[in-house]
Symmetry: C2
Subunit: 379 residues, 2 copies
């Protein structure tokens, strides 16, 4: 087992009707920025529940956070926070709104010249942040219980993550009932996103960490079981609840303790989203099987194990096929042509970008620009 430190201070408030508990969690003496997305919370009743729980608190609102939240949009909210003197941010929505709230919380107190440095430094420049609480309405990113955020910049077509212990939510309210009205595409994307979060921390090389392996497999097995049920029976509370808890535990740092981590699929996928507008999960569904085939020998032991324990098949190759089948069964295409993207063009753009950055990806640091192009061109 590798050495590790683990700390996750977020309080999870999970279950039916839990939005009402905001009243005991959101400070009464600070002005609250209520941050949300493109309006679904106004249609499904979540907005009304939140406003009712906040009661007479002073609230300023900032809506319009888009999928793959933009630096440009976030900076408008940062201006609002500064102008209004907001002291607390309540993010209500999916991972995009939550990620945006983390950037805004850090940028509002950022002492440097350009808050984009927060992202460009991967979070290293964050010294403090406004306190954040969240109401999660879309299980997928794990952002409700981690210190990570991914921000895009329209002007440069960049999409980059940052991490900081200062941006963990103080609390996150998870009411599975709020997810029952989600469009199937978003639910399916959330299942794929969670699946890939787990495999990034699991399909690497054996590290004598049998408990961590089994925890990861537990989430994957549960996704296979409840994921399709959420799509088939949208109002099945228990399936929604399990999916939501899978998504949180998939990326709250726990299953990655003491084991190597990959994250190449995410880094490559981010670029497909930045250049071609694929949904985040779509980009992962495209990249993951290709990356696994290219890294087959170094990942064979773990893919074999996943095949055996999660899918009940006898080889690494079959495990990859089963994964693709699972994604497609949810309606998430696994090839670039499913999204009208030319693989040769994508490979060229990504080779150039990764060559420029000079990073080497994967748990062994052996995936450079040429390997990225090779993965993408085969998709």
């Amino acid at each position: 087992m590798l050495d590790f430190t683990f700390r996750n201070p977020t309080e999870i408030i999970f279950g039916r009707g839990t939005i009402a508990k905001l009243d005991s969690r959101v400070p009464k003496d600070a002005k609250t920025l209520l941050l949300y997305g493109v309006g679904s919370i106004k249609r499904n009743g979540v907005y009304d529940q939140v406003r009712s729980a906040l009661g007479k608190r002073t609230v300023v609102e900032s809506g319009g956070i888009e999928s793959n939240p933009l630096y440009e949009t976030c900076m408008k909210a940062v201006d609002l926070v500064r102008r209004e003197g907001a002291g607390f941010i309540l993010a209500v929505g999916g991972g995009s709104v939550l990620d945006a709230s983390k950037f805004i919380a850090a940028a509002a107190l950022f002492k440097g010249k350009d808050p984009w440095e927060i992202v460009a430094s991967s979070g290293a420049t964050v010294q403090e942040a406004l306190p954040i609480g969240t109401v999660l309405t879309l299980p997928a990113t794990g952002s409700e219980s981690n210190g990570g955020s991914v921000i895009s910049r329209a002007s440069t077509k960049e999409k980059l993550p940052f991490l900081s212990r200062h941006v963990y939510p103080r609390f996150s309210v998870l009411d599975p009932e709020t997810t029952c009205s989600l469009p199937a595409r978003q639910v399916a994307n959330g299942i794929v996103d969670t699946f890939v979060h787990v495999t990034e921390q699991y399909v690497t090389y054996p590290a004598a960490a049998p408990l961590q392996d089994r925890l990861a497999e537990s989430i994957l097995q549960t996704l296979l079981e409840v994921g399709p049920r959420t799509l088939r029976e949208p109002r099945d509370y228990d399936a929604r609840a399990s999916l939501m808890w899978c998504a949180t535990l998939g990326l709250n740092n726990l299953i990655g303790c003491g084991v190597p981590q990959d994250w190449a699929t995410h880094m490559i996928g981010h670029e497909l989203t930045a250049f071609f507008g694929l949904d985040h999960a779509q980009s992962l569904a495209v990249v993951l099987p290709g990356l696994w085939r290219c890294a087959l020998e170094s990942k064979r032991a773990k893919l074999d194990q996943m095949g055996r324990r999660v899918f009940g098949v006898g080889s690494a190759e079959a495990a990859i096929e089963k994964t693709e089948e699972f994604f497609r069964s949810l309606g998430v295409g696994t090839r670039l042509k499913d999204y009208g993207v030319d693989a040769r063009e994508a490979a060229g753009k990504l080779r150039a970008r990764f060559a420029e950055r000079g990073v080497r990806l994967g748990e062994n640091g052996d995936i450079g620009a040429d390997a990225v192009a090779e993965i993408v061109i085969a998709r």
Copy 2:
């Protein structure tokens, strides 16, 4: 799935040589109470590592915390803390030392008349506590990452738990190498204790929580795999590390989120320890199989599942037998006669005590004094 809240703020610092990191975690501006047990940390080098990491800090020491830490012993440390004005407690040892530190931390700031009220109120009267850090040297109780503590009182032969969010350790250092010199009996006890912590949160009734079930099974499976290895190969680092992480995750509140919990085995076992001096794990190994047989019908679905998934057997009855076999294979006896205790006498004493308390135990609240006696007399 049941509703829940979950928050665990403890930082885990895990791996080889991590005791040195105390220097960056223990406050420099407070007098530290260094709390430990009956001296093994002085023989195995842990004490020297701790003192070296603490450097020039002002430290007062209190040793002599016994297994099943006594209120009477703790109160001497409380007097010391008050007299010396200690502002931080560093507990170095196993669950007993850690549990004691929690009581001392709460009692030192207790405003009521008699600090025993902390225990008698199950922790409800705790309003604040001194900050605690721990160096864990015995994987078993999970006390390194929860807000629970069990304190005994010699004068009344009581052994009772209390819980408080104020006594979570700020950090816990887990260096598996410190566990390599443990006596086999303590290692075996730790494996049994962890196993039973998991089953208290798992062998109840189905609650539509498939992820939680699998997380619990993950720990049980890993215990079956690495537990015997730690006894066979005492210096196998990876086995020690996995056992240590199993013990922490077995009782850090995570696997119990959203599912019913039992804890009757613990409550009955505590009394066997209080009256007859059995080791904590010995008492659990005696009670658990008996309790399961008495509650067979209400627990059958989960016992069947555990049998199938953890032991690869086909019935609840076989799962119970396999559990007993596992405990005995570790050298932990599962019958009262293994410890020279007369079952009839024990049943009588426990019936009287539980009748006096009037509590009803178990996830269904259906185990009263007569049922306790029935369980015990069959052991």
